[in-house]
Every structure is written in C-alpha cells, then in structure tokens.
Symmetry: C2
Subunit: 247 residues, 2 copies
C-alpha cells in the first residue's frame, strides 16, 4: 500500500502523516512536488518516532512518475465530486482492497491532495476510483494527516493492510504508466485531427476522456495494447480523412 | 457526546482536536487542567474553522468535576492495559453507543490522556469501560488529535453521533458525580477502620475498588443509594466493632 501526497505544503503535516501511517502499519510514502523542497527538517521533527518513513519517502516531480508502477489508484476526497467515477466510502475500502489483493493486485496507491485544496480534477481523473470520507457537511475540510489517518486506520483495523511487495504476477493489470502512455498516444492522435478545436474546452475534455478509461475495471496490460492498436488504426484512417477534408 | 481531554499540554493539539471533532460533527469539548492555562491562543489558531468548539470548551480543574454529570464514561487507550475493565474496540464503539442512546443513556463522555503519556490508571479506574484503538504494536503512540479523530470518525460514520442533549429521563442511570460521592463515602468509611493500613498499597487498592464499582453495568441512581445504605450500615457496625477493639 502506497500513500501519495500530491503537492503537500507544510513539513509539519508531512511529518504528522508519516507518524499516523506508521501507527497503522503503513510505511510506503511518496511525495509529489513538496512545496518546501526535500529533505524537510520540519517533517522529520514532527514525525516523532516515524522518522524512518520520512527518510524512506520517495519524492517525485510529477504525479505521473509517482504513480507509474501502480496497478490501482484511489483519489481521496472529503466530499462527493461532480466527476463521474466509481466511489467507495472510507469504511468500505478495506474489504475492497482485500479483495483486490486476493486477486493479485498488490500495488495499490491512495493519493491525497494539498492542504486546504485537495486534489485537482486533473489528479482525480487519473485515479481508478474515489474514496470519500464522510464528514460534517458544514465543516468538511480535514487536516491532511487526519485524512490519511482515517484511511490507514480503516485498512489496519480491518486487516487489509498487507505488504505492498507482491510476489504475484504484476503484469496482469495495467500499470498507471501504461495508461499514461496510452493517454499520450490517444491525445497526440486527437490533436492531430484537431479534436480539441476549442482551446478553452481542451482541459475539461481531456479530463473527461482520462476519466472514462481510468474507470475500466481490471484493465490488463494486454488490453491496453489493444487500445493502442485501436488508436493507431483510427489515427491512420483519421489522418487520411483529415487530409481529405483539407483538400 | 462529550470529548474530555485530561491534562493536555500543547495548545496546537487542543486546536487540532477541536477541528477534527467538528469535522465529524461533535462539538462538546471538556478540558481538565490544561498545562498552559486557558484561554490558549495557539489552540484557537490551530482549530482553523472550529474556533467555536474552542470558545465553547469547558475547562475544569479536576477530572471528577469534568465527568460529574455524565452517565457513561469511556477511557481511551492505545493498547490493552492490565487494568480489569470491559473493553470495546474503536470499530465497535458506535453500535454500543447507539444502543445506549436507544436505552435513554445520553450523557456519554470519552476521555483522552495527555500527550505521550495517556491516561493514568487512576483516571481509567473512573471509567465504565475502555475503548481501544488497535495500532501497530511497534509504534502505538498516537497523536492526541488522531486518537480523538479515530473515535469521532467511528461515531460519525456509523451514525451514533446523536445530540448530547437528552430529553429522556437522565436520572435513571447513576451519574459519575453520584459515583464519586459514593466512593468518597466508601473510602472515608474504609479509612476510619484503617482498611488502608499499608500506605504504599493505598493508591493501588483504591483504584482496584473504584474499578470494581465502575464496571457495574447500568447502575441506576437508586442503586447507588442502596450502596450508600450498605456502607452506612457497615460503617456503624464496623465503628462499633472498632470501638470494641479499642477498648
């Protein structure tokens, strides 16, 4: 199980995250673009007895890199977002994770957004699923260490917190990196045919597309190859069509 | 539902407790002997959007005062203590609390100890029951706001978080204050007969006794009167006996 902090700001919070992770037996921390750089003295100080989690944390400068090798990715949100994506409540995540692990899916990540901001819709679109923590609708802004703590608590107290190192075949399910290559391929192809002709809508439309593919349940590497094949095939045909149109 | 912090030290932690309480819809905070006095600017600053919880917090200078009006009291511990007392796991507390509320027990408190220390055995002996948060046995020391957060999360997410103001008869179950009067009465009587004749053992023995009575399930006010009656009756008899002995 991997905890991924996306653009965290305060070292104190990163340290508090490390501590509560270790309290609940989860020690793989990945950090994307920490605002104050890395290493961070405040993170070490506030981790108390969990300095090893901080020292072993892996820092990335893009979210895509941080999630590249994962087979399944959750995005954590405090409230339901308008984005169309499968959603699990925090109290049900452990049984879901356990069932994935039993099916050979071991490289699972859970990402958390920056303080007071959460994850962007772009970030969320990359996830396979959303996990939501129900909170007081009048005061839903959780401190990041409390959001992480709630999820780690659920996993630990319901015995879904197994080792992240898998000895089961990892190539069955598509990794996030394979998905990213696919999106790159697809968008390049779409750009070539001027699919995103209204610039203001491009971002929204990209999210929407990623969101569709990221929701394919148990997509295998082999199936991603098939998707590549489809794009490659259509690309040629569209290219021809495009050429025809421009005549 | 009342959250009771016993001798908390850092204002930042008190503020973080207030915030996570409000996130999970619980707003009654009681604080016993805050180390840095009260009000505490740091507590207000770190409560972020939950300053109302801090402003409305009630501060007490003894634990007995803080729990006097409660009908049921939990003591939170990270690990199982050697003390003989009923114990519920955090994930089961909400169904238990819900069943109490359905039976007219509304004034329920949950107490948490100071940072890095937890509750003393004295404090725990006053509780009806222990609630335990399962943690990594190799790193079980939870930040106080995470301990409070875990319990509040369980109560909120499992719908046991009902209003603390009861309109059901509150006099059915004995309050903690009534229990305290009873313990005072009992210990005075025991002292009078030199029950605690080995001074070093007095504290341990007192805890043990309180621990026995505090575990009586659903003890009513009326039954406490009966206990008083028993002590009063025995006292006279012992007193006579004592007088006889001293003759």
């Amino acid at each position: 199980m991997f905890i991924i902090l996306v653009k965290p700001q305060m070292g104190e919070n990163i340290g508090a995250v490390a501590r509560i992770m270790k309290n609940f037996g989860i020690e793989n921390l990945r950090i994307v673009e920490p605002r104050d750089g890395w290493p961070n003295e405040k993170a070490i100080a506030s981790s108390v007895g969990a300095a090893n989690v901080i020292h072993n944390a892996k820092v990335f400068y893009s979210l895509n890199e941080a999630i590249g090798d994962l087979q399944f990715l959750y995005a954590t949100t405090a409230q339901h977002r308008s984005i169309t994506k499968g959603c699990v409540l925090s109290r049900d995540i452990s049984s879901e994770v356990l069932s994935m692990i039993n099916n050979g899916v071991n490289k699972i990540g859970i990402m958390f957004g920056r303080e007071n901001w959460g994850l962007s819709n772009d970030d969320i679109s990359l996830a396979n699923k959303i996990v939501t923590i129900d909170t007081n609708p009048e005061f839903s802004s959780l401190n990041i260490s409390h959001a992480v703590g709630t999820i780690c608590y659920e996993l630990f107290n319901n015995k879904a917190n197994l080792s992240s190192e898998s000895h089961i075949q990892e190539d069955t399910l598509a990794t996030r990196q394979q998905m990213q290559y696919f999106y790159d391929h697809l968008f390049k192809a779409l750009n070539a045919v001027n699919f995103f002709r209204i610039p203001e809508k491009k971002e929204h439309m990209s999210q929407k597309i990623i969101n569709i593919f990221s929701r394919i349940d148990k997509l295998s590497s082999n199936e991603v190859q098939t998707l590549h094949g489809i794009v490659a095939a259509l690309k040629t045909k569209s290219g021809e069509k495009n050429d025809n149109n421009s005549l």
